[in-house]
Structures are given as structure tokens and as C-alpha cells.
């Protein structure tokens, strides 16, 4: 499923809000003013500053940040609900700013669906009509759009609720309808702006797992916004962390947890459980280092795990076999060794080989 085709390509995008945003942008490009200086000099709010990101086919890209960090602004730049002040956004290779109104509508209708935090269901329409609404505005005949909507509703497990009205559904179910509406139009990319934030923790987890499964099964790509790092880690293949409009770090969950870019990110990841996140390859020490430390021992005598084994699995291995080191390798080649010490450091999100790496 994973391929390298870039579906969304966002290059150095800025969004400045305010009456004097044009002047503010000019001084950003010419004088390199910071967000705070812009606010002071021009009374403009920098919503998104110099954001660059790429979303590839089949991946779920999470954007994580606290309230006001510019997540909603950024995701709305991706389908041009907000015009960028500077920079370009390409969707499937086409620069959005060059599209005329009709072509933009076409792109939104065909290629990028969106799910909202507030769900945004139309109260006077049934669940089925809501799910079919995207196709309805495209002028698809009723039978055809209802069939597509029924399929989508079945995927999110709401087949029995077709003829109900949104107000008769719980929050979690409404959010599923929102997802079904996006799926009905069968876009390649789904933008999700904090879709689960208003739900209680249990329903939320359930929906997170369902959503990830569904997206992967259907081969969709998604940009998923959240203010909850746990959620980002559960759902995202890659995560970008935003602060004050700037993407301060981007990478897989493991990369972010193991190598936080700054103190801000470090504080964020401090409370995250590493058990299933950190893999053997990031906590192991190189083979020669281990050989130097433990002369006379051969790695072949140790129990073995793959580099993809997570800390939980490694702990299982160590407690199960009684050995205090595990050889890491694929096939016959050993690439490193995890000792009890490196494992304990890994649980804290540190790595034994950092000095060496």
C-alpha cells in the first residue's frame, strides 16, 4: 500500500491574519521579522509560519499542537478554505492557487474530503441524506448517491440508523456519520480537524482504532489534527508538532519520543509510555561496543529479536529467558545488542547509543 507518491505538498506556507497582512508579509520576506514583532508592528496574527510538509499516498499524517498553535489554519490551507499569504500548496501535483473556482470545487469534491470537529451535520436531513450530501451537491442522481452513502454507512457501522436524524444519535455516532460523508465521495485524502476531541475517552479510543483500520483498509491518506499526543501516536504514521504556527518537529512517533527537537517537545513526550513505541533498533548498542564491554561472550549465545521488536517484547524476552542481553538482528546477521541497562534507559526514552550515533 505504501508508496512514495506525494499527494499533498506544502512548501513554506505562511498565513497572516489582519488588515495589514500584506505589509506584514512583505517585511517577513524582506526583513525576516518574527511572529511577535509582526504582532507588535502590524497588529497581525501569524497563524501559520513557514510550514513545509508532505503527505504521501496511504499514510496518516498527524498534526499535533496546543490550542491556538495554528492547526486548524494549516489544515484549511491544504484545501484552500483559507488562502495562503505566502508559499504554495500542491495537491496531486497541482498548485491550488492556480485553480479557478470550478477546478477548485472539483478538487475538493473528488480528491480532498474533510471531517470537522463540530461534525457539521445538517439537522433537517436524515443520516443517509447527510452521508450522501457530498454527492448530492455534485448532482449525482439520488439512487446512485444513496447506494454510495449506504456503503459508507455500513463501513462505519451505522447501517441501522440510515433514516434517523442527527439529533437522535450520540456524539460518537454523529462523528461516524461525518466520516461516512467524507468516505461517500471517495476522496483520496481526508482532512480531519480534531474529529474526536469532543468525545469521551473510551469512545475516542474505539474510534481511533476504527479510523486507522478503515483508512488503511481503503488505502486512503489522511491529515489528522489533534491536541493529544497519545492520539497522534495511536493514529499517525508520521507526526508534526506545531507551536505558535511553526512546525517544530516532524517524524515518526518513535523518532519524536527518542529525539525531541527541543525542551517543549521533550516535556510533551515525557509522559508517553514507551512500551509499544520504542523499537529495539533505537535502544540497542552497536555490536562492537557490546563485545568490548563483555569480552569472552559471543552474541550467538544470546536470545534474538528483530530490530522492530518493541520494548514490551524485549522485556518479555529478558524475563522469559533469564538472559540479561538480547541480540538484535535480521536473519543471520546481528546488528546490535540490547542489555537490561539499555532497555531501562529506553523505557525512559533515552538511548545507550546516543553518544555513539
Amino acid at each position: 500500500m505504501e508508496s512514495n507518491e506525494v499527494l499533498i505538498d506544502c512548501q513554506s506556507v505562511w498565513k497572516v491574519f489582519g488588515e495589514r497582512s500584506k505589509e506584514a508579509i512583505r517585511s517577513i520576506t524582506e526583513r525576516g521579522l518574527t511572529k511577535r514583532e509582526i504582532l507588535k508592528e502590524y497588529n497581525c496574527v501569524v497563524g501559520v509560519a513557514d510550514a513545509t510538509l508532505q503527505v504521501r499516498r496511504g499514510e496518516i499524517f498527524c498534526i499535533m499542537g496546543l490550542s491556538g498553535s495554528g492547526k486548524s489554519t494549516l489544515i484549511r490551507l491544504l484545501n484552500r478554505l483559507i488562502e495562503p499569504s505566502l508559499g504554495t500548496v500542491r495537491v496531486k501535483g497541482r498548485d491550488l492557487s492556480t485553480l479557478d473556482a470550478a477546478a477548485l470545487r472539483e478538487t475538493r469534491a473528488r480528491h480532498i474530503g474533510m471531517v470537522f470537529q463540530s461534525v457539521a451535520l445538517l439537522p433537517q436531513r436524515t443520516v443517509l441524506e447527510n452521508a450522501a450530501f457530498g454527492l448530492e451537491v455534485q448532482g449525482i442522481p439520488r439512487d446512485e448517491r444513496n447506494r454510495a452513502a449506504e456503503t459508507a454507512l455500513a463501513k462505519v457501522g451505522l447501517s441501522d440508523w440510515k433514516l434517523r436524524y442527527p439529533r437522535e444519535l450520540s456524539g460518537g455516532m454523529q462523528q461516524r456519520v461525518g466520516l461516512a460523508r467524507a468516505l461517500t465521495a471517495d476522496p483520496e485524502i481526508i482532512l480531519m480537524d480534531e474529529p474526536f476531541s469532543a468525545l469521551d475517552p473510551l469512545i475516542r479510543r474505539q474510534l481511533q482504532d476504527e479510523f486507522r483500520q478503515l483508512t488503511k483498509d481503503l488505502g486512503k491518506s489522511a491529515v489528522f489534527i489533534t491536541h493529544d499526543l497519545d492520539e497522534a501516536i495511536r493514529i499517525g504514521d508520521r507526526i508534526a508538532i506545531m507551536k505558535d504556527g511553526v512546525i517544530i518537529q516532524e517524524g515518526t512517533a518513535e523518532e519524536i519520543v527518542m529525539n525531541p527537537a527541543d525542551q517543549y517537545v521533550a516535556d510533551f513526550v515525557a509522559g508517553i509510555s514507551r512500551l509499544h513505541l520504542v523499537k529495539a533498533h533505537s535502544v540497542m548498542m552497536p555490536l562492537d561496543q557490546w563485545c568490548r564491554q563483555s569480552p569472552g561472550l559471543s552474541p550467538d549465545s544470546l536470545p534474538r529479536c528483530s530490530p522492530e521488536a518493541d520494548i514490551d517484547a524485549l522485556i518479555g524476552k529478558i524475563t522469559g529467558t533469564g538472559s540479561d542481553a538480547i541480540a538484535i538482528g535480521h536473519g543471520g546477521t546481528t546488528v546490535g545488542v540490547v542489555t537490561t541497562r539499555s532497555l531501562l534507559l529506553g523505557v525512559r526514552g533515552e538511548s545507550d547509543n546516543r553518544a555513539a550515533a
Binding site: R105, G113, A120, L122, Q124, V137
Partner: protein, 276 residues
């Protein structure tokens, strides 16, 4: 020194009269024709037949309760001996409201979208709403002379502000996420207006329509003073001759007409929006 706006306005009205006489004559003709045909359509059948038709139509358009209520209201007008006057008043109100809505609705939407339009309209609306209604009648009569036409013009002017204000309010109140939804799924602006904004704005719009109808009715009655005929003329007659009975009957007939028109429009629009 007195400041007398009338001294400025009167020559303007005179000038309009002198130079646009043909134009006003055409307007008069059009309004007279439309009004006349609606009136005669309402009066060509016997009263009980009209009542029956309204009740049946009301039942299908707005449900049983509205149908029964409509029957009562019309029945009262008939039994009170004010059938013809009631029909004239209804014709006047229907035409006035239709025109007022046709003007106020698009302007109201425009004002909801562009702050500048709203800023320009606000003082005009303020004036239109605070000037005592019979003052409108003066220039209207000066231009269109006595009769139904100045009455309906003054009524339209009087009915526009509430409809316009509430239209703006209604469209402002449409949740932003719904509008965003429309854009995000690639809907055309017109589709967003009709399928998303209008249903969401409808409850407030109905309040506006209701205000428009009731104020127009009040104005139409007042316009009895300038010879607009209908129930207004009956009230005026009751007043000038000190006939308590006639005044009361005409007054109650006005209430009946008000309830009738309001419930019928509201019921129909509400049901339609639910079905859509």
C-alpha cells in the same frame, strides 16, 4: 431658525411628479392590475367556496390544525358581513408582503455578507422604522394620489425593514462550520445558499416574515385613511361615525386575517423545509 426637512423634500416630490409622471403612472397601472385580479379572483366564487378551498389547500400545505384555524378565521370574516373588505385587505397584504420580501430578502443576504452594505443600510432602516407610519402616506399620496396604490407603496416601505433586518440576522446566524462544509465538499455558492444556509436560517426568516405580515397588515388598515378600501376603510368609518359595533367587528376581522395569513405561510414554509 427652523430646520424644516419638508421644505427640502416637498420640491423633490414635486419635481419627481413633474418629470416622472409617466413612470409613476405605469407603476400605478401595474399595481392596480395585479391587485384587481387577485381581488376579483378571491371574490368571483361565493364565500363558502373560497373558505372550502382554503381549508383543503391549507390541510395539504400545512396540516389539519392550520386548516381548521383558517376555516374559523375566514368564517368569522364572512359571518361578520365583512367578506368583501376582508378579501380586499388580504389582496393588499399579499401583494405588499410579496414585494417587500422580494426587495428585503436579497438585500438582507447581501448585508449579511458585506459589512459595508449593512453599514450603509442601517441608518436608512432606522429612519424607516422610527418615522411614524402615517408619515409615509404623505409623499406616497402626493405622488400616487389617493387610493390603493399609495397605500400599498407605504405598506411595502413599512414592511421592508423588519424583513431585511431579520434576513441579515438569520444569515449571520448560520453556523460557520456548515458553510465551511459546503465549501469543503465543493458545493457551488448557490447550492450552499439554498441547501445549507437557507434551511439553517429558516426559523429566523419565518420570524421576519411574520413581522413583515403583521406590520403590513397594520399599515394596510391605517391606509384606510387614504382610501385604500378593505377592512381599513371599515375601521375608519367606524371611527368617524362613532359606530362601536362596526369598529369592533372590523377590528376582529383584521385579527382573523392576521392569524390566517401568518399561520398559513408559516405552516407551509415549515413543512416544505422539513420535506426538502
Amino acid at each position: 431658525m427652523d430646520f424644516n426637512p419638508g421644505a427640502v423634500l416637498a420640491p423633490v416630490v414635486d419635481w419627481l411628479n413633474a418629470n416622472f409622471h409617466g413612470f409613476f403612472a405605469i407603476i400605478t397601472r401595474i399595481i392596480e392590475t395585479v391587485l384587481g385580479s387577485i381581488e376579483s379572483a378571491l371574490l368571483v366564487l361565493p364565500a363558502f367556496a373560497v373558505i372550502a378551498i382554503v381549508v383543503v389547500a391549507g390541510f395539504f400545505a400545512a396540516g389539519l390544525r392550520v386548516a381548521i384555524l383558517a376555516g374559523f378565521c375566514l368564517g368569522f370574516c364572512w359571518l361578520a358581513g365583512l367578506w368583501e373588505a376582508s378579501m380586499q385587505t388580504i389582496a393588499l397584504v399579499v401583494v405588499a408582503v410579496a414585494i417587500a420580501v422580494a426587495v428585503a430578502f436579497p438585500l438582507g443576504i447581501l448585508a449579511a455578507r458585506r459589512a459595508r452594505v449593512e453599514a450603509a443600510l442601517r441608518p436608512v432602516l432606522d429612519v424607516m422604522q422610527t418615522v411614524p407610519p402615517w408619515v409615509y402616506l404623505i409623499p406616497a399620496v402626493m405622488i400616487f394620489s389617493l387610493g390603493r396604490v399609495p397605500a400599498i407603496i407605504a405598506t411595502i416601505v413599512y414592511g421592508i425593514p423588519p424583513m431585511l433586518r431579520l434576513t441579515t440576522l438569520a444569515f449571520r446566524g448560520v453556523p460557520n462550520d456548515l458553510k465551511e462544509l459546503g465549501q469543503a465538499i465543493g458545493a457551488k455558492p448557490r447550492t450552499i445558499l439554498w441547501k445549507i444556509e437557507l434551511p439553517a436560517a429558516l426559523p429566523t426568516l419565518l420570524v421576519g416574515l411574520n413581522q413583515c405580515i403583521l406590520l403590513s397588515l397594520a399599515m394596510v388598515v391605517l391606509a384606510g385613511l387614504v382610501g385604500a378600501g378593505g377592512l381599513g376603510a371599515e375601521v375608519t368609518r367606524g371611527l368617524t361615525r362613532m359606530e362601536m359595533g362596526l369598529g369592533l367587528r372590523a377590528g376582529l376581522a383584521i385579527v382573523a386575517v392576521a392569524i390566517l395569513v401568518d399561520r398559513l405561510t408559516r405552516g407551509t414554509l415549515e413543512r416544505k423545509s422539513r420535506a426538502a
